[in-house]
């Protein structure tokens, strides 16, 4: 493509204009190179027509408090998403919820090629905001729709309120007025917030993304530290939500691992008893020392547990057995006493029963070797004979071990889920849709 002769349009290069306020005479700096519509005198706070070369006064307003200073001074430049922007305007806006005023601050940013951009700040929470190019979709049947759809994502209604601009400074790409009201609705999809602002008939949609104060500070190379962020902000990304799925996936994977361990290590070995015998406690004959020793049996494999099961056909009776598991070679012994008792009957509440005819005990960490049991049974001497049997199993699955493992895995998952839920609850507690309390509190009404 050919380009013709360069027109003699001259050397007038746009640059920062220096003018004076028609009200107080203070220097007015126009930073937006003619793109701004209004400019507010930083000295006397007159709102001036930035399009008028004579800077006609549009409005004067009393400064509420001299403490109202932008955290990022006008004229500061910073890099946002790779582009330099200059802070050219500042306004403080207020909404009233239940007669409590909430303030937030908006900074107007400008780049002569890319145009305008905004930074908002509330309680140390920042958002990087641009005007939407695509129109969000809301259900037109509702005056305040519960959700909005933007670029294929659903944003949930957070709050609708009337925002009042109560303090303005610098330049604005619209005709700004102190005291001007806008009907503002926020929809959130953390970390983004979709806002509609209605002034008279026009609706402006903007899309903001949560920014951490420290990133704003480094982008604008500001001294000191950003103000502490208080509470949970409407579109603040939850530090937990990303982890929830991951932690439950890990939980599921590790639980499967645990089950595999259980099946792989313990189930095959817990099959057949290594020793089984049935005895008779003859109480009439049992005078003196009733103890006896069993035949020997082999405990194989690595050092592991041993399960001893005692079964006795007792009814409204008991039997007590003093056991010693003894290693034939080393003489090392494990002593333990077990009781088997079972009672049942009828009373005014119907039938009842207590105890069990079967008792199981696990002796941990028994090395392999040749073993035998020494058994000393005791019972109520007034009763007749009791038959009982003893079974010894090697290397049984200890459910408690797996139970503890399972709980250890479950705990972080539950904890993170709980923290995430409480994060979301404190987010939504500030909205038009506060969550109902988890524990119903008694009301005096």
């Amino acid at each position: 493509m050919s380009s013709g002769p360069t027109p003699p349009q001259g050397s007038q290069k746009p640059q920062v204009q220096a003018l004076n306020c028609p009200k107080c005479g203070a220097a007015i700096t126009l930073r937006a190179l003619g793109q701004a519509v209004s400019v507010v005198c930083e000295s006397c706070h007159s709102i001036l027509d930035a399009k008028d070369p004579k800077l006609q006064i549009l409005q004067t307003f009393e400064q509420i408090t001299s403490a109202e200073r932008p955290l990022i001074p006008l004229g500061t430049r910073g890099k946002i998403r790779g582009t330099d922007y200059e802070v050219i305007g500042f306004e403080r806006r207020t909404i009233n919820v239940d007669d409590i005023p909430y303030h937030w601050n908006e900074y107007v940013l400008f780049n002569p090629y890319k145009g305008f951009r905004y930074l908002t700040e509330y309680n140390g929470h920042w958002n990087d905001v641009v005007i939407c190019k695509e129109l969000p979709m809301v259900d037109p049947r509702f005056s305040i729709p519960l959700e909005a759809n933007y670029l294929g994502e659903v944003y949930k209604h957070f709050q609708t309120a009337n925002a009042n601009a109560d303090f303005v400074l610098g330049e604005f790409p619209w005709e700004v007025r102190a005291g001007e009201q806008a009907h503002v609705t926020d929809y959130v999809h953390p970390p983004r917030v979709l806002s509609s602002e209605r002034m008279s008939k026009e609706v402006t949609w903007s899309i903001g993304e949560y920014v951490y104060g420290k990133d704003v500070w480094s982008a604008f190379r500001l001294p000191g530290d950003p103000p502490q962020a208080n509470g949970v902000y409407e579109n603040e990304p939850s530090p937990f939500s990303a982890n929830i799925t991951a932690v439950w996936f890990a939980f599921a994977a590790l639980t499967i691992g645990l089950l595999a361990m259980m099946i792989g290590f313990d189930l095959p070995s817990s099959s057949e008893p290594v020793f089984r015998a049935t005895y008779q406690l003859n109480r009439v004959a049992a005078n003196g020392e009733p103890s006896f020793v069993t035949d020997t049996f082999q405990l194989e494999g690595r050092t592991s547990n041993v399960e001893v099961t005692t079964s006795a056909s007792v009814t409204n009776d008991w039997i007590y057995l003093n056991y010693a598991l003894i290693n034939q070679d080393s003489g090392e012994a494990w002593d333990f006493g077990r009781e088997v008792s079972f009672y049942s009957g009828y009373d005014s509440d119907g039938s009842w029963s207590e105890g069990s005819r079967r008792d199981t005990v696990v002796v941990p960490t028994v090395p392999p070797g040749q073993y035998y049991l020494r058994i000393e049974p005791e019972s109520d001497p007034r009763h007749s004979n009791i038959a009982y049997s003893v079974e010894v199993r090697r290397n049984v699955p200890v459910i408690t071990f797996y139970g503890i493992g399972f709980l250890a895995l479950l705990l972080p998952a539950v904890l993170i889920t709980w923290r995430s839920v409480s994060f979301e609850r404190s987010r939504w507690s500030e909205s038009d849709h506060p969550p109902s309390p988890i524990i119903e509190t008694e009301s005096d009404e």
Binding site: M1, S2, S3, G4, P5, T6, P7, P8, Q9, Q12, K13, P14, Q15, V16, L33, G34, Q35, A36, V37, K51, D84, N111, P112, Y113, K114, G115, F116, I131, K133, E134, L135, P136, M137, N149, P173, W174, E175, K201, E202, V203
Partner: protein, 223 residues
């Protein structure tokens, strides 16, 4: 039509047309508004002093829209309550012409909706009548070429001047109404009420960097 190279009937300066279909141009030297006839150029008006430039775009800025290179060859300048606003006339590489609008550095590229047979701008598509200016309402939706557009802004603009080559005569205007329509995508529409019959422009809202613009204005202190 007049040759590609002609002489200004007012001051005698050389006039070079970049686009063969240009109907109007402005003499760079004496600011006469010139209209092409079958034989020569006719002076129809005079451009008053233009407002100070605020756009990063200028005549001869080059760029690219959907893999179709373009060069800026003219513009119409309007004023509205938010300041100045430009409609830059683009000569596309494929010989058609388009528009790049730039209002407070919100950029949109659009093309007049063209009738299949005539190849010229028409005022309505396939039997569908465009809304009259008096019918315009914010929030009203229309469907063109399969997309739904919602009226977002109705702008009362004031014609402020022209520069360079245009595809039609456009110089003795005063107040003009425009309606901007947006969609749930980047698709964008403008209804132009500067003539008796409305004209529909369809296009896209674009990011500055996506246009890959060259020959931009330089702003002191900014790169």
């Amino acid at each position: 039509m007049t040759q590609r190279i002609a002489t200004c009937p007012n001051c005698g300066a050389k006039i070079i047309f970049k686009w063969s279909s240009s109907v109007q141009t402005v003499c760079e030297y004496c600011k006469s508004v010139l209209v092409r006839t079958d034989v020569d150029l006719k002076k129809v008006g005079q451009v008053a002093d233009l407002p100070p430039d605020i756009s990063p775009i200028q005549l001869n800025t080059e760029g690219n829209y959907r893999n179709n290179a373009f060069v800026v060859i003219g513009r119409i300048i309007y004023q509205y309550d938010q300041g100045g606003w430009n409609e830059w006339h683009l000569m596309m590489n494929d010989g058609t012409s388009g528009w790049l609008s730039d209002a407070q550095e919100e950029y949109a590229v659009s093309f007049p909706v063209v009738g299949p047979a005539t190849g010229t701008a028409i005022s309505s598509t396939a039997g569908q009548k465009l809304p009259a200016e008096s019918q315009l309402q914010i929030g009203q939706t229309y469907s063109w070429n399969g997309a739904t557009y919602t009226v977002s802004v109705i702008t009362q603009a004031h014609f402020r001047g022209v520069e360079g080559e245009l595809p039609f005569q456009y110089w003795n205007k005063d107040d003009v109404t425009f309606a901007d329509l947006r969609s749930s995508s980047r698709k964008f529409a403008t209804l132009d009420y500067s003539d008796t019959e409305p004209v529909l422009y369809l296009g896209d809202l674009v990011e500055f960097e996506d246009l890959k613009l060259k020959n931009l204005r330089q702003f002191e202190g900014w790169s």
